[in-house]
Amino acid sequence: MPATTENQGSFLGRISIRRNQVMSMDGTHDQEMEDLELFQKHVGDRFSELLSTTTEDSSGDALLSISWLRRLLDEFLCCEAEFKAVVLMGRDPSQIAKPPLDKLLPELLDRVVKSLDVCNAVALGLDAVKNLQRLAEIVVAALDVTPLGDGQVRRAKKALSALIAAMLYEDNANAKGTERNRSFGRRTGNNSGANSKDRVRSLSWTMARNWSASKQIHAMMSNLAAPRGAESSGLAQPVYIMSTVLVFVMWALVAAVPCQERNGLGTHFPLPRQLSWAQPMIGLQEKIAEEWKKKEKKGNVGLLEEMQRMEKLGQSLIDFAESFQFPPETERLDEMKKNVEEFAEICKKMDEGLEPMQQQIREVFHRVVRSRTEFLVVLDQAGKLSAPAV
């Protein structure tokens, strides 16, 4: 992740400057104001860069594509590091243990704990995506041969129906998926339906039984309100910004990747329209929410751009396979070849991107845990942590 290191370098420089200036109490206030403003500006810049480079198609970083999400995670890590530099480093514990931070910080830390479960759920979701990838690879392996025979088409059809079934599994239960699969299933016999069920089960997520991604996100959103009045110029502001960024990123991940129980995820969480740093995030939020609304009714496995495309291509490949007759028409064959090529290209993207993305999620996990620990130490030192243990 070259982008990350580069950015870290730039604000690490700022930290050392900060520390020196904290030593001299004169002008600390001005310096602090400047730091806070810079932090806001940087957050705004990062997201507006992300928004402006988001492409409509897969030629670049399409919204909620793997590469886009990886950039989002990078930006998150940068925001997080800068946040720590502004709020925590070189600061006297008493400063962040007094109102309103004595309440706001524990709330943020509570959101952090909740985000850890989201990280785990998303990492598991990415494993499920890897499963889809393998099914897609079977389709490619089956159809990418010349001459194409009945047997290969059958093989592809089987994998495709499992793929589609797995993708539609989540919200519409497996009624539709199983049915579809059965119509293609070669044999039922003594273990009828085992085929599709197994494939679907291989997508199963190992979170706690009652755990719900949407509930988790909603819980993270609660109490999230922009600081008002005098508070809005103090440290309450970066804490609020960081909370918002955290919630936004987790929300986007859950929307993109297969996750346990996501009913009602499309709900907007309020972002402050009047604040400039929030504008690009609002733009992204609206785009994602719109996508979610389109797909929610259908029931889907997630908005991950690659999966969406895979589903679309999968449908047309199924159509091809269903009407396949040997020898195939050249025109249809050419169209199919094009689709298979795109399928292969998506598989390649998944192959290259999913693993690093899982590592990034893990990195996010580590980083927020570390920050939380550091904040807790400071709050404990100040001895004013009144919130219940989280």
Binding site: V113, D117, I138, R154, M207, A208, Q216, F326
Partner: protein, 679 residues
């Protein structure tokens, strides 16, 4: 191409199944098949296999001995391509009802062997130049069929692993199912083979420990999850699926069936699915139980459940294709492994507080102990993430332990209770801290590894009057943990000194310090571990401190009392014959009596819980008080007795005082006034 030929070679020499290659080879079959014993080291077969293949080869030739099949029965001269195609089509389940309802591998052995042979024949014909669409289609039909057969064999051998049998010390390596396996050779041989295969699966150094103690829970101990004849069938199918490019289907089917089996085993082991949020919400007492259970479950999971899954993958897939065994293994256990470790991770990031230290250390110890086995079971590149996660959790648990220790130090320093304990006895804080420290000494081995820096004391905080000073240079040769313990005792004393100031009576304050420091000393002396860690030098200092407190107490109380018994001020110059002022003398006796009564009354309620210390202090008091009183009485008794109402002034004789001192520090109020024995 070279690799392929090797694989084929293995097929010839090890499989009892007849491969097509064998049929076309010019060798006479009986040459190959004569040696059927486990010592199967025909020079022919080994000489051409490269070294890295040998372990596999060795293993497989051994498992062959478990799964010997009738050989010659299937030695057909050849299988014409048309016949092969017919066999494949006969079993096309889209074509016939019969084919759909019956499974090849659960039926007649001959039929499954024939089917495999047919597949081999078709596969071989595919490599020839002109491939008809018919042959092409046949292989796809065969593969779909084999996938179903593969799934069916896996499903019919899915018995969740039963942890209750695992807990028994008398566990044997034979899985329950092996007795029902009809083609099993006799048991002696089986034992030998199983042990050898254990050796093989831990070939990187861990082997020696495995062979020695595989029956205990302290090391990897695989069981056979699927009987060997079924493993053999699975392997035969897997080979053909992989060589026909159906690797992904194979992994997919394998993973989905085995994963649900692992899930079922997890349920049997009582491994709960708890989110990090759940763990943070639970009471610590509940979590302590869960930690205990987790440690037990984790050992079984890593050493038996996961290790057995790995072994199974190797038995079926090793050598079939590049790292297929790893892929299948991870497909099966990645989710469960993450779920398992998730709990330990959640504990490692829970809020730090002193009571959590020892359970966290237990967890840390358990995981440390498991680490070598985790490294063995998850040794492949694809399972790196699991290994890394376990290591991360371990380091976070260590960090938590360090954090808790410093949290504890902070808590001891800041423990805020201001109400003095009655009677100057041992403060609950002292007991708590000392018990805590002894527990720390029980965990010395682990903590010595974790605590690598000495406490930040002295110079750094010297400006702060709220923190005691400790000169670390005195403890150069001590381990950081030792210094932390000493530091905790220093902090404790510092806090106790502060608390002693809340006593209105200075004597009681000294007694309180004496009692508490004495308790510290006793606690340290009572534990050889602790004594060694704290060291005799510092112990001497502590002893000096409570002795000093005892002296200070005596000064504070008894100097005043004994002052009444001095000679000065009693003699009047040039007055009466004796030169002693009776009035002054009477006042002195009255003052002494009053003071002694007061001290007796108050200090009988004070408490020195340690009987020896109590005794010593009383003796020390008597040694000063009694001779002084006796001599005072001796010198001046006559002056009082010659006057009126001597009993008003000399209320006590020496024995009375000796008895009265015995009432001191018992923590019991004396009910009546000081008794006079002389009456």
């Amino acid at each position: 191409m070279e690799r392929r030929s090797e694989t084929l070679l293995i097929t010839i020499t090890t499989q009892t199944q007849v491969s097509s290659f064998l049929l076309v080879s010019s060798f006479h079959i009986s040459h190959f098949l004569l040696p059927q014993t486990p010592t199967f080291s025909t020079p022919f077969s080994f000489s051409i296999i490269r070294t890295k293949q040998i372990s596999f080869f060795f293993f497989f030739s051994l498992s062959l001995s478990l799964c010997l099949r009738p050989l010659i029965t299937f030695m057909m001269e050849s299988l014409p391509l048309e016949t092969a195609e017919k066999i494949i089509l006969r079993w096309d389940s889209t074509a016939s009802e019969d084919a759909r309802d019956k499974m090849i591998f659960s039926g007649d052995r001959d039929e499954s062997d024939l089917y495999l042979q047919a597949v081999d024949e078709i596969q071989r014909s595919l490599s020839s130049v002109s491939v008809s669409e018919k042959v092409n289609s046949a292989i796809q039909i065969a593969m779909a069929r084999l996938e179903d057969e593969f799934r069916n064999i896996l499903i019919s051998h899915t018995n969740p692993f039963d942890p209750t049998t695992e807990d028994e010390a008398s566990l044997t390596l034979d899985p329950p199912s092996s007795s029902s396996s009809p083609k099993h050779p006799d048991n002696d041989e089986n034992d030998e083979v199983s042990q050898t295969s254990l050796l093989r699966f831990n070939s990187d150094g861990a082997a020696s420990s495995v062979t020695g103690s595989y029956r205990s829970t302290s090391s990897i101990r695989e069981i056979d999850l699927i009987p060997c004849d079924a493993v053999y069938d699975l392997r035969c199918i897997a080979e053909r699926m992989v060589s026909s490019g159906y690797l992904r289907e194979c992994i997919q089917v394998y993973g989905s069936v085995r994963k649900s089996s692992v899930d079922a085993s997890f349920r049997k082991l009582g491994i709960e699915k708890l989110s990090i949020g759940d763990v943070q919400r639970l009471q610590w007492e509940q979590l302590e139980n869960k930690i205990r259970r987790w440690i037990r479950a984790a050992k079984v999971c890593v050493r038996t459940l996961f290790a057995s899954e790995k072994k199974l993958c190797e038995q079926i897939f090793d050598g079939v294709g590049t790292s297929i065994d790893d892929a299948c293994f991870m497909e099966t256990v990645k989710g469960p492994a993450i779920q398992l470790f998730n709990f330990a991770e959640a504990i490692s990031i829970s809020r730090r507080s002193p009571e959590k230290l020892f359970k966290i250390l237990d967890l840390h110890d358990a995981l440390t102990e498991l680490m070598p086995d985790i490294d063995v079971v998850f040794d492949s590149k694809s399972s790196e993430s699991i290994r890394v996660q376990a290591a991360e959790i371990l380091s976070r648990l260590g960090e938590a332990a360090r954090g808790i220790l410093s949290e504890f130090e902070n808590a001891v320093l800041k423990e805020p209770s201001r109400v003095p304990v009655p009677g100057g006895t041992i403060h609950p804080l002292t007991r708590y801290v000392m018990n805590y420290i002894s527990l720390i000494s029980d965990y010395k081995v682990t903590l010595n590894e974790l605590i690598v820096s000495k406490p930040s004391t002295g110079s750094r905080y010297s400006g702060d009057p709220g923190i005691p000073d400790l000169d670390l240079s005195e403890f150069e040769e001590k381990t950081p943990l030792d210094v932390h313990l000493i530091w905790i005792i220093v902090i404790l004393q510092f806090n106790l000194d502060g608390k002693s100031k809340h006593y209105k009576d200075a004597s009681l304050a000294h007694l309180f310090v004496m009692n508490n420091v004495h308790y510290i000393v006793q606690k340290v002396r009572g534990s050889p571990e602790l004594r060694e860690m704290i060291g005799d030098d510092y112990l001497k200092k502590l002893t000096g401190k409570f002795r000093q407190a005892a002296t200070s107490y005596q000064r504070a109380t008894w100097v005043r009392v004994l002052y009444c018994l001095r000679d000065e001020g009693l003699h009047v110059s040039g007055g009466f014959s004796s030169g002693v002022s009776r009035n002054a003398l009477r006042e002195r006796f009255k003052a002494f009596n009053a003071m002694f009564e007061e001290v007796h009354r108050t200090q009988a309620v004070w408490l020195i819980p340690d009987s020896q210390l109590r005794e010593e202090l009383r003796i020390s008091i008597s040694e000063k008080l009694i001779p002084a009183y006796r001599s005072f009485l001796g010198r001046f008794r006559s002056h009082i007795e010659s006057g009126r109402h001597p009993e008003n002034y000399i209320k006590y004789n020496v024995e009375d005082l000796e008895d009265a001192v015995l009432d001191f520090f018992e923590g019991v109020a004396v009910s009546q006034h000081l008794r006079r024995r002389s009456e």
